[in-house]
């Protein structure tokens, strides 16, 4: 008899991953949470998309009379980001309940005690659960995908690179929420507690975003830990290695924490010690990530870069460039300068240092100083000052310091813009009736589908014995 074989210590290494993955995905699909989220996503995404199409249409209509306005019409900002925006809200508030089910239900039914005795390493179990969570996330993306297909069917334009970049950002965000939820489920006795812990993380992230954004020093650094801030980079058409690597490090960190707390037979003090080690390691990885300067402007309108001729010239500046800014971090001029000049220079000039001399001071505290508002550019032995926050003034100043001619703008490289006046009414019956109906039918089919019963247990009439 098979079950009488002698102990086989190699079983753990030899076992196939496929049954585990099939089981994990099946578990998520057999719960109500994923289907309910999917049904709720339909009106959420649908209404956002409908409104986005309407507003984009209004702006496009104005561009008919003034063609220059067309160049500011980007489907990324007008359609894709708002549509994904509704998905983001659902992933933040609803997806934790889906992800927690991957572990919480097993804890509640006692199946976890069986699962940890299967011939899989704990890290394999966590990886399988995270894979199932990413499958659930992809299923949740169906309403967004249909919205983008509708947009294309209206004759709308989608740039594959910037859309894929945004997709990647949301995937990383979804996986991060999933990893936090797994960790929360691993440390909690019930799914309800795990949901509170996960929402605690996401809502705290919003608080960081709202309350601390624009602050200087430690508070400013803390605000950059917000999950929303991480996503914003992708929404701006920028692929940043620092953000991508940082999010991956955070996902790996939370997954490792979940594995530590799932490990059976480990005493509390060992778990705590391993937790501290893991958090420290994740912290180091995050710190390394922040040092990564590599980023790529994947937006079609190249909003994160200077004009191409300037980009080429600036990339050739070999000497150290130091920019000293006399502005408080919360000053709108600093925000403009950061967006229009500093962030672009940081990405293209090989050796640039930016110093904020009023860091830690407020606008009120510093505005009285004579030098307040000045921006000093030092290149080699040369120094120049300006108060402008526009690249149109800053770049010629830099060229002057480097003693190089101002590059001639190239024609034909301007972003054309993609105005489109479309009637988005079809989105309403699709997202409010047809798609929810299709999802409900798929749910019903999934729940009712008969499993394959081995032939010897089925009567000749097809009924089970």
């Amino acid at each position: 008899m098979y079950f009488l074989r002698s102990p086989d210590t190699a079983t753990v290494r030899r076992t196939s991953l496929r049954p585990l993955l099939v089981k994990e995905v099946g578990e998520l699909l057999s719960g109500r949470a994923l289907w309910t989220m999917l049904l709720m996503l339909c009106p959420l995404v649908g209404y956002s998309f409908f409104q986005a199409v309407a507003l984009y249409g209004e702006a496009s209509a104005a561009a008919r009379d003034q063609p220059v306005l067309a160049t500011s019409l980007s489907p990324l900002d007008g359609i894709v980001v708002p549509t994904f925006g509704a998905f983001y809200v659902a992933v933040t508030l609803l997806f934790p309940f889906v992800a927690i089910r991957a572990l919480g239900r097993e804890k509640e039914t006692g199946a976890l005690k069986l699962l940890v005795q299967l011939p899989y390493q704990i890290r394999t179990l966590v990886a399988a659960k995270l894979t199932a969570i990413s499958v659930a996330w992809l299923i949740g993306l169906i309403p967004v995908a249909t919205a983008l297909l509708l947009w294309l069917s209206f004759g709308g334009h989608l740039n594959p690179l910037e859309t894929s970049n945004l997709f990647l950002g949301h995937l990383l965000y979804g996986l991060l929420i999933g990893a936090i939820a797994l960790f929360a489920a691993a440390i909690s006795d019930s799914s309800a507690t795990a949901a509170i812990v996960t929402l605690g993380f996401t809502i705290a992230s919003w608080v960081l975003d709202f309350a601390l954004a624009g602050q200087s020093g430690t508070l400013g650094w803390m605000s950059r830990l917000s999950l929303t801030q991480a996503l914003r980079t992708f929404e701006q058409g920028l692929f940043s290695a620092a953000v991508g690597f940082g999010m991956l490090a955070a996902i790996a960190g939370f997954a490792a924490l979940a594995a530590i707390w799932l490990h059976p037979g480990t005493s509390l003090h060992k778990r705590l010690a391993r937790t501290v080690l893991c958090v420290g390691l994740a912290g180091v990885l995050l710190a390394v990530a922040t040092q990564l300067r590599r980023s790529s402007d994947v937006s079609e309108d190249k909003r994160n870069s200077f004009p191409a001729a300037d980009q080429r010239t600036l990339a050739g500046l070999k000497e150290p460039l130091t920019i000293t800014v006399h502005l408080a971090p919360e000053d709108p001029r600093y925000v403009d300068l950061q967006r229009n000049v500093l962030s672009k220079l940081e990405r293209i000039v090989p050796n640039v240092t930016i110093r904020l001399v009023t860091a830690g001071q407020s606008v009120i505290g510093s505005a009285g100083e004579v030098s307040y508002g000045e921006i000093e550019y030092s290149y080699g032995a040369h120094l120049a000052k300006s108060r402008s926050t526009s690249h149109r003034e800053a770049l010629p100043l830099l060229y002057g310091l480097a003693a190089i001619p101002v590059p001639t703008p190239q024609t034909g490289e301007e972003y054309p813009g993609y105005p489109l006046v479309a009637d988005g009414w079809i989105a309403l019956p699709w997202f409010f009736v047809a798609l929810p109906l299709l999802i409900a039918v798929a749910w019903w089919w999934w729940c009712r589908r008969a499993p394959h019963i081995p032939a010897q247990f089925v009567k000749s009439g097809g009924q089970q014995l």
Binding site: Y2, E27, T109, V116, P119, P451, I453, Q464
Partner: protein
């Protein structure tokens, strides 16, 4: 000559805060036997099984496999623990759970068929685990155990939920399986059930072992040659 121990539990002590759950518990488990862990509710039976399986940390003591220390992380290679009241993956159909276990342990379709037949699950293969009666849920648990290659099975209250006829059927199955060389350690609070199926007994009260041996050994200890297990238990605890 006494049979060599397959598994040795050596001086396991477990505290929950300031409450001692197990106090220096030691005993042997022999090849092919059905060992009964007998004790009232709260006596530490479940805690003991979970510590042997490596699912709970211990404050002292350990487990030996064929006289060699068996570290906590390697227990699952030889021991499988089946908790009380288990309804694993209750949203799935019974056949899917069984197939998952078969595949996870590298089993074949024939093993699955054999396990289904031996515990009598043919009628409920298409049902969801959540919809199973208590008795069928127990049968499913036993079928899962039979699908694994572990030589030692630790089962918590395996007869809870069965009627007399079903209990006898399952006991007969355990006997057959044990006769083929697998070893059972069963935590049972129904002394009459334990007396029917077990070869030897560990009497556990408040985390302490009060008696170990076959019914005859225990009878000899209290000096009553015809006493039942219940009388022995009351006399020794």
């Amino acid at each position: 000559m006494m049979e060599a121990a397959l598994l040795q539990v050596a001086g396991i002590t477990k505290w929950y805060g300031d409450q001692r759950a197990l106090a220096d518990v030691s005993f042997d488990v022999r090849h092919g036997e059905i060992l009964g862990l007998i004790g009232p509710n709260g006596s530490g039976k479940t805690t003991l099984l979970e510590t042997i399986a490596g699912l709970l940390p211990v404050d002292a003591g350990g487990v030996l496999w064929q006289s060699t220390p068996l570290p906590q992380h390697r227990r699952r290679e030889v021991v499988l623990y089946l908790p009380d009241g288990l309804r694993p993956w209750d949203g799935q159909q019974v056949i899917r759970v069984l197939e998952f276990f078969t595949s996870a342990f590298g089993g074949q379709a024939a093993d699955l068929t054999k396990a289904i037949r031996s515990v009598g699950l043919e009628q409920v293969l298409g049902k969801r685990v959540a919809a199973l009666s208590k008795g069928y849920a127990r049968r499913l648990t036993l079928a899962l155990a039979l699908l694994t290659p572990h030589p030692v099975l630790l089962m918590d209250e395996p007869f809870d939920g069965f009627d007399i006829r079903q209990t006898r059927e399952i006991m007969a199955l355990m006997r057959r399986v044990a006769a083929h060389g697998r070893t059972f350690t069963l935590a049972i609070h129904q002394i009459t059930d334990a007396e029917r199926v077990c070869d030897r007994f560990i009497l556990l009260v408040e985390g302490r072992v009060c008696g170990i041996g076959s019914l005859d050994d225990l009878r000899a200890r209290i000096g009553q040659a015809t006493a039942g297990l219940e009388d022995v238990f009351l006399a020794l605890t």
